[in-house]
Amino acid sequence: MPGPEAAASVAFAIDHASKHYGNVCALDGLSLDFPTGTTTALIGSSGSGKSTALRLLLGLEWPDRGQVRIDGEVLRPAHVLALRQRVGYVIQEGGLFPHLSALGNLALLPRHLGWDMARIRARAGALADFAHLPRAALERYPAELSGGQRQRVALIRALMPDPDALLLDEPLGALDPIVRHELQEELKSIFDELGKTVILVTHDLAEAAWFAERLVLMRRGKVVQDGRYEDLRDHPADTFAERFVKAQRRLPEAAR
């Protein structure tokens, strides 16, 4: 069972990373540390580089300059597969494979790791209960699931091999407000229970504040402000930070 006792964890670090796509600068000398067992939210507008930063950590992108360190070791292409197998990654709309049932999606990596089907079923069932997904939904195909159910399956897929860290890129971005609210509550309790390194990318300040002690506001591939929600709200580092907070404040206040 997932739980605090399984709390092996990963420390990520980005050192002076720059990344360009043609003329567009996605990361501009970015340095960030993500100590083990912490929950961090990367926030910012679209194009701020927050997703690119997350993707660097899994070797899905490589910086033009600078480096990524995992538990202090510089990340090399040869390490990438092993790293990805111990880190769960969830994207907007889940990224489920439409040709496989929910269970088929969950089984992909474990089967490659040599698990037998009984073990996969047991683990998937336990995680389904944990993530409030009806077990019957495991037999269905993505096209037969609701948006919330798909996102839960994606989360379970990430948790299947009992990863040491979870990286989430706008995991709730495509959901309607009610489901989204419900999942926010559940995710929060899952993160708290797991006690692993969690890095979450979102453009929603309220959501970031709900999940994470530490908020990193990014703009144009740089960190604008790195701290608690209250620091950002009461002492914005510059006018952009101030505008970002104000723009979000018009939304109904999420309780904190």
Binding site: L58, L60, L81, A82, L83, R84, Q85, R86, Y89, I91, E93, G95, L96, F97, P98, H99, L100, S101, L108, L109, H112, Y141, P142, A143, E144, R157
Partner: protein
């Protein structure tokens, strides 16, 4: 051999030409695509049988080039030829009026023997409808110069060869501009229907009588002599001396009238070549091989074999190529470009190109069909893989699956529908294109079509065309079922949303 698995069949097809060269196989006789050549081939076949030699006959293999090449490569041992064709097309260093002794001396170093003249000339002539020629007062070829409005439809071979239309036009200073190449047997029909005014004919053609044609007098002696002879591999003099002796005895036995009557018996009365030849030799007719259904079954097996083996091999190569093309952009463009170029090679040319590599028969046909099958499969594999949503591709990578597992468990299943559609396209095209394989001796449904065109027999053409069309529909249906069965249920559900 027919019932063994495709792999063995293929190996046999590829090895057959070489094996045949090495061992003491039966005497193999070939003939060109027109009736007279088929009759003369049959005549040599019956002669061989009577001389006690084992013999296989591959009628209507193709044009001069194909037969000559096959003889030189040892794919066939004997075929009927004409002296004019040898001097004009095959051994151009000889004078056009070289006698048979000169030809024999020149052919000997090539390992090829030649019989004496069989007794008739089949030379080119220009034919017009008799009524039309009479109305215009045309009796000689030189009379044509006064009628520049006349439309000529010449056989493709006549259009191209040195001793054909280009030389004729120069010799007679002919002014006509509406000159088109067409299949020889179709030219007669075009002439009869008034679509063209003159065509090239062979002087022993039965059609001259049938279509009431006038052959124009070659008043400037342009057309050379075309004496019928047999060419054979000199090796036969050791391996089948009795047959060679019997073949040589045919010299001087067939005059032009006898040949024209045999041509007419086949073309106009619809008698089988074997019967006509048996009558000529005064021997009993050998029972034809099987009835309609066994024949259809044999052709179906041949045809399906061509399509299945070539398609199977193409799938084995094209899917990896498509995967590679999707992985490596540059290489991908190159691969798709190259297979695209292959697709533009005209089918008949493709079949002929394969002959030097694979001999005649099923080998070159399978090779040509294989090349044609590549493009649709490579392109659809590439398109199927390239069309996978980037977030799905990335999800598979982010899970920590190695590239091979990603390809097998995620990417190929997602591209499956596109790949199957490519294979289906290739299969349906193959069923149609394989009818041309009969031209190079590979059999199949093309065989009755070819004979039907030659004999102007619609029923015979339909015996090939109808099963070919039905097979294409069947293949289409089978692939649609396979597609439904192999497409993951999740994708079908998704498509319905």
């Amino acid at each position: 051999m027919r019932l063994t698995p495709a792999w063995l069949t293929l190996a046999a097809c590829l090895l057959l030409p070489w094996m045949a060269r090495a061992g003491d196989a039966p005497v193999r006789i070939g003939s060109k695509q027109f009736t007279e050549s088929v009759i003369l081939g049959e005549l040599a076949t019956v002669t061989a049988r009577r001389a006690g030699a084992a013999v296989t006959y591959r009628p209507q293999l193709g044009g001069t080039r194909i037969l000559w090449q096959a003889l030189r490569d040892g794919d066939i041992d004997v075929y009927p030829e004409y002296t004019g064709t040898i001097t004009h097309d095959l051994l151009k260093d000889l004078p056009a009026d070289a006698g048979i002794d000169a030809l024999r001396a020149r052919l000997k170093p090539l390992g090829i023997g030649i019989t004496d003249a069989l007794g008739f000339d089949n030379t080119y002539a220009i034919g017009m409808r008799a009524d039309e020629a009479g109305r215009l007062g045309i009796a000689r070829i030189s009379d044509l110069a006064k009628h520049p409005e006349l439309r000529f439809g010449f056989s493709n071979e006549f259009m191209d060869r040195d001793d054909g239309w280009p030389g004729l036009r120069r010799r007679y200073a002919l002014p006509q501009t509406q000159v088109n190449g067409m299949e020889h047997v179709l030219a007669y029909r075009a002439l009869a229907s008034g679509a063209v005014d003159a065509t090239d004919v062979y002087s022993t053609d039965a059609d001259i009588l049938y279509y009431h044609l006038r052959t124009l007098d070659d008043d400037r002696h342009y057309f050379p002599r075309y004496q019928a002879v047999y060419l054979y591999r000199l090796a036969l003099e050791r391996s089948a001396p009795d047959f060679v002796a019997a073949l040589r005895k045919l010299a001087g036995r067939i005059d032009a009238d006898a040949m024209r009557r045999m041509n007419a018996a086949v073309k106009l009365q619809g008698r089988p070549e074997s019967a006509v030849v048996a009558d000529f030799l005064g021997v009993p007719v050998r029972a034809a091989r099987g009835g309609f259904w066994p024949r259809l079954l044999r052709r179906s097996i041949e045809h399906v074999e061509l399509v299945a083996v070539s398609l199977g091999l193409a799938v084995l190569l094209a899917i990896p190529l498509g995967v590679l093309a999707a992985r490596l952009q540059r290489l991908g463009q190159l691969v798709i470009g190259l297979t695209g170029i292959l697709q533009t090679v005209p089918s008949l040319a493709m079949f002929v190109f394969m002959i030097p590599l694979f001999g005649i028969g099923a080998g070159p046909a399978i090779a040509a069909l294989f090349l044609y099958s590549l493009l649709p499969i490579v392109r659809n594999t590439h398109a199927g893989l390239a069309g996978i949503a980037p977030e799905l591709r990335e999800s598979a990578a982010a899970l920590g699956l190695p590239p091979g597992v990603r390809l097998r468990r995620v990417e190929l299943p997602l591209a499956m529908r596109s790949i199957l559609a490519g294979i289906k396209t290739a299969a349906v095209i193959n069923v149609g294109t394989a009818t041309l394989a009969a031209l190079i001796g590979a059999g199949g449904y093309g065989q009755p079509i070819l004979t039907g065109i030659r004999l102007d027999d619609i029923g015979l053409i339909l015996q090939g065309a109808v099963p070919a069309a039905l097979l294409a529909l069947l293949v289409q249906g089978i692939f649609e079922a396979v597609e439904h069965w192999l497409t993951p249920r999740g994708l079908r559900l998704e498509a319905r949303l």
